[in-house]
Amino acid sequence: MSRNGPFAVLFHSLFVAFMLAPLAVVMWMSLTPSNLLSLPTTELSLRWFRAILGHSQFLEAFWFSILLGVIAATIAMLLAVPAALALARHRFPGRDAFVALFLSPLIIPHVVLGVAFLRFFTQIGTTGSFIGLLGSHVLVIFPYGLRLVLAALTTSDPAIERAAISLGASQWTVFRRVLLPLMIPGVAGGWMISFIQSFDEVTMTVFVATPSSMTLPVRMYHYIEESIDPLVASVSTVVILLTFLLMAIVDRIYGLDRILVGKG
């Protein structure tokens, strides 16, 4: 195709600046030596990063979010792998309805899920419990994991499995020697994306989190509601750097452009 003209280059530069500006400003602000929200121009300081260590509310919420994300992503993948095998390797009545149901958390507004979970947990008496929060996170991250495993399975050739069976392999051997190696990039990438989605989720979690079960984004949201100071900028910078690290890992094992553009 033909090359981009000067207008295209200018437009693209402005677009990239627009996308990166809020992240750059947060990271720059976190290096301020001042008590006020003023961008550092003459000297940089790490004092607001040291200050995080003195605020147990952020540290506790951070570890809580990590724990929640790891367990929720693991459970979601344990549910998604067999479901993806069923959807990718079988044609059965009700298949389309299953797909619609499994992907529906992507379409339902998270605020609606939030109030539905709040009501549900209050009725069954598990408000603020870890199990409740975990269940709600498993549900909203499930479609992301499912899509990646499905993509890994649908791009592979089912003839390989038939060949293995015709050569006398048992069901278990086919799963272990053929399907599992095929699925591993999808499962690993899906786990990472599920973890990131759980770690970032705020709209639904803000309804079901209580002071004893507070995730980092919800803690940050309540903090920003009260006041914005350099401390919350340094916490945000840690979140940005951690996300970039995870993205680099995902890029190595699965290909970030494949995940973002959604092509398997």
Partner: protein, 287 residues
């Protein structure tokens, strides 16, 4: 026997996920619909009896009218801006050379994976009265006084565009990938101008991508919570923040449930109608 096992296999494999979805999606959604039909006593705070009053309040009250209209306006404006900047960006990206294309694709799309709270904080820092944008404008002598952006509708729209535009880029990008470069070369060899190629070949091909991108962007913008809450503040309510207030502020749960159900139905209706139009009009382009 083997045949029966094979027929049962997909259901058994999906069963764990199905059970979770039944218990944690269908039951809570049914409960919230049920709750929306229950009466709430403002004096005692008790929930009892069946009523349509919550829907009458939601749909008839001018306070909620204003909130629904504002949400609709913000979502439409966000969608429009996303089309205007996201579609050309996807087009320019697709015309880039090999290493740059995937580098910039990741650069433009990766903010998608960073928490909405963090990204909105960035906009709050940029927008404030003494925020970065106003300081730069003042230093350059471009503005006589601070331009209000925090707690304004246009501030919310800008921040929502940032959150939602990657989805427009993805969607248009996907439809551009199906564009056959040979058709463009044929048009060039027949003497078509750049503009004619864009209008007669590229645009009709990416239209379904723009439409499906708009769908995602609209749904996201109409139900966004953290961005309007932080940038819009307490005064500038949208449906999601109003629902939050009913549930965790005034504690009128049945009314909050009715607002949430209306949001769900409006969102689902718009998406399904839109989807049907897109499918009917562009079925020959859709994969």
């Amino acid at each position: 026997m083997a045949d029966a096992t094979r027929r049962r296999a997909p259901y058994l494999l999906s069963l764990p996920a199905l059970l979770i979805f039944a218990a944690l999606l269908l039951v809570p959604l049914a409960m919230i619909v049920g709750l929306s039909f229950q009466a709430y006593d403002l004096n005692t705070g008790r929930i009892e009896g069946l009523t349509l009053g919550n829907y009458a309040d939601t749909l008839g009250d001018s306070y909620y009218h204003g909130i629904f209209l504002r949400t609709l306006g913000i979502a439409l404006a966000t969608t429009l801006v996303c089309i205007l900047i996201g579609a050309p960006e996807a087009y320019f990206l697709s015309r880039m050379k090999a290493p740059w294309r995937s580098i910039f694709l990741i650069v433009t799309l990766s903010p998608l994976l960073i928490s909405v709270v963090v990204r909105t904080l960035g906009w709050a820092l940029l927008f404030g009265r003494n925020g970065v944008i106003n300081q730069v404008l003042a230093a350059l002598g471009l503005a006589s006084g601070p331009i209000p952006m925090l707690y304004t509708v246009h501030g919310v729209i800008i921040a929502l565009v940032h959150v939602a535009v990657p989805f427009m880029v993805i969607s248009v990008w996907a439809s551009l990938q199906r564009l056959d470069p040979r058709v463009i070369r044929a048009a060039q060899s027949l003497g078509a101008s750049e503009f004619t190629i864009f209008r007669r070949i590229v645009l009709p091909q990416v239209a379904p991508g723009i439409l499906s991108g708009s769908l995602i962007v609209f749904a996201l913008a109409a139900s966004a919570f953290a961005t309007p809450a932080i940038i819009g503040g307490r005064q500038l309510k949208v449906v999601a923040t109003a629902t939050y207030d009913e549930f965790l502020g005034t504690l009128n749960w049945p009314l909050g449930a009715a607002v949430a159900v209306v949001l769900l139905i409006v969102n689902a209706t718009i998406m399904l109608t839109y989807n049907r139009i897109v499918e009917r009009r562009y079925s020959r382009f859709a994969q």
